[in-house]
Symmetry: C2
């Protein structure tokens, strides 16, 4: 860094951030609660109108019989996979090598449930029908993540997805959707949430990714599946006396932003196209299929970050708080387009892209 | 019920409730957030000033090196017991037969950790030094709950507690405190939280019992104990991106109410004395040792509840939303004295007690 302070600090100070919906500050909660009647009763250990109505609404949106609100997707998905294994009595699930459960959960699935995992596909590729057909035949459950976040949010095309679903049904393999970013992929597929979820036996969605809520998740499926998930929620300590701080903000931001996904998607494509013109920079996927993509640089993190810092300071445009090293001369960052991007004057973005172009050229 | 609606509904309508701090409604959160700067940054996955400062403050209050904020006590305590077992390699813990982990958590401890439990003492009695001395000698951890909630919030005297602690230390048995209601027992012992916690290796406290927060818990102990507890918090799905709705309200209501525990305790003794004068009613303990006690009735629940309903309607005083049956002609409810009691005109309470006396006499 050529200036005092970390890249994250400089990023925080930029007025124009390419990604996200703005700061994750207390105002996010205050805004969601401003119009709510103080007399409204809390949910109580998973019961009460407040939680039950939202669960019903989400079940309807996802086209499932029932839905259960969880404090986190980590908890919801481990429980989903455990229940899927209990159906067959074989504790074996298959998922992508960069699945959230494999890389972000400290092996909770294995430590808490002794579930064996089968990693499908190369870590840089999507899971294909062929991968699924080659799985060991005692796999109880397959988890698919749409979009595949850790590889830039890539997506299988709909025909491939439908074929995987048909195969799993035929083979009686439980198919679970990690839909943390489900609403973000609907414009690409041109389908409703219920249409996509119809291919899956169970689905989890998150409220703080593209929707920008505070935290919280929903797990949906048939009642015979969600009912025991509530027992496990209690076992995990997730059946809090009050989950309403998350539920009411989830509801508020869901309604605020679910209709903006087409716009985020179009803007992500526009931004990616602009960035792909910068020499030494490429996006993955080249043309985004949701509101997200990865930005790859042909430069080590230590050489890249001072350049980004200069761009932030000169233009006020923040690209990322931190780059991740992927090799001796490569690094990347993730961009999720939300409300912030649309508020940036277009020439500011162009100015940042062309300064980045210039500084990268000088560094070679 | 002689009137339409359940006892819980009638209770909700009463203007004068003996127990609690008032309705658990959205206003509880709104009040806690009213004065907070909207620009304050969220905690992020267990990091950031907001969570770290509160954890430090609680570590100080509890006299422990470190403290970790958890969404729930269920999660915090299972993890505490697991870590205690990992020290010795023997998955065996001892606790009271009516311990929260035994009766309210759907066997999470056993299902998630395969930990064997040794139940100490008769379910109607406190755990004594003698019970502890008679445990199997491979017990890794003893959990004590102060006060013992399910038997009216009884407490061992301090000398007994100190003797149990000394014995555990000598035998290298990990001693964990279920201090869900720790602040509530300090006036009886005449000790600080740190003095009581000094007898224990680890301690959990709750923010929504006597303190009246929304949800949340803290687990405290040495850094070598709390550090791995964060890994398990991640495994459980409790390491949320944002826990601030619970942390900030925990902090607000902790500071609001921690100084009122002596008052709640005195009021609980006063109220229990008044109720013990009603024939057919007795409190457990007879003289409360915290802000809580159980109210026992020599009547079946089905005969009792219409009488309670009449008392609520005639006097406006609410005693409980529901009684629990304990035998063919016995039932009880729990009373936790909080802010509500002090706001009731004294003659209203007397009026309710004497009507209860009269109606119970007529029912015999």
């Amino acid at each position: 860094m050529n200036k005092s302070g970390s890249l994250a600090e400089l990023y925080r100070e930029t007025p124009y951030k390419l990604a996200g919906h703005g700061q994750r500050n207390i105002g996010v909660l205050q805004e969601a609660f401003r119009q709510i009647d103080a007399e409204m009763n809390s949910d109580m250990y998973g019961s009460g109108r407040l939680i039950e109505e939202f669960q019903q609404e989400m079940a309807g949106v996802l086209g499932k019989e029932t839905a259960v609100f969880f404090p986190s997707g980590t908890m919801a998905q481990q429980i989903a996979l455990r229940l899927a294994c209990d159906r067959t009595g074989v504790k074996k699930v298959a998922y992508h090598p960069l699945c959230h459960l494999e890389i972000h959960e400290q092996d909770g699935l294995k430590e808490l449930h002794q579930i064996e995992t089968v990693l499908l596909a190369d870590k840089d590729s999507l899971i294909t029908l062929q991968d699924v057909q080659s799985m060991p035949d005692d796999v109880a459950c397959l988890l698919l993540e749409l979009p595949q976040r850790e590889i830039g949010g890539q997506l299988p095309d709909y025909a491939e997805l439908a074929a995987i679903s048909a195969y799993c049904r035929e083979q009686r393999i439980w198919l679970h959707l990690d839909g943390a970013r489900l609403f973000e992929v609907l414009p690409y597929y041109g389908k409703t949430a219920a249409e996509i979820c119809g291919l899956f036996d169970s689905v989890y969605i998150s409220f703080y990714k593209g929707l920008g809520g505070i935290a919280g998740a929903v797990l949906a499926g048939a009642a015979e599946f969600t009912q025991p998930s509530k027992v496990w929620k209690r076992r995990y300590g997730g059946d809090l006396i009050s989950l309403y701080p998350y539920i009411l903000s989830a509801s508020y931001y869901y309604h605020l932003r679910v209709g903006r996904m087409q716009q985020y998607y179009e803007e992500a494509k526009e931004l990616a196209a602009m960035l792909n013109q910068v020499e030494g920079v490429s996006t993955l996927p080249e043309v985004p299929v949701s509101n997200m993509f990865h930005l790859h640089f042909g430069l080590s993190r230590s050489k890249l970050e001072p350049i980004l810092a200069d761009v932030y300071e000169a233009t006020g445009v923040g690209i990322t708080p931190a780059a991740r090293e992927t090799g001796v001369s490569s690094a990347y960052c993730e961009i999720n387009v939300g409300d912030s991007y649309g508020a940036i004057p277009k020439d500011k973005v162009k100015e940042a892209a062309s300064l980045l172009h210039k500084l990268l050229a000088e560094s070679r």
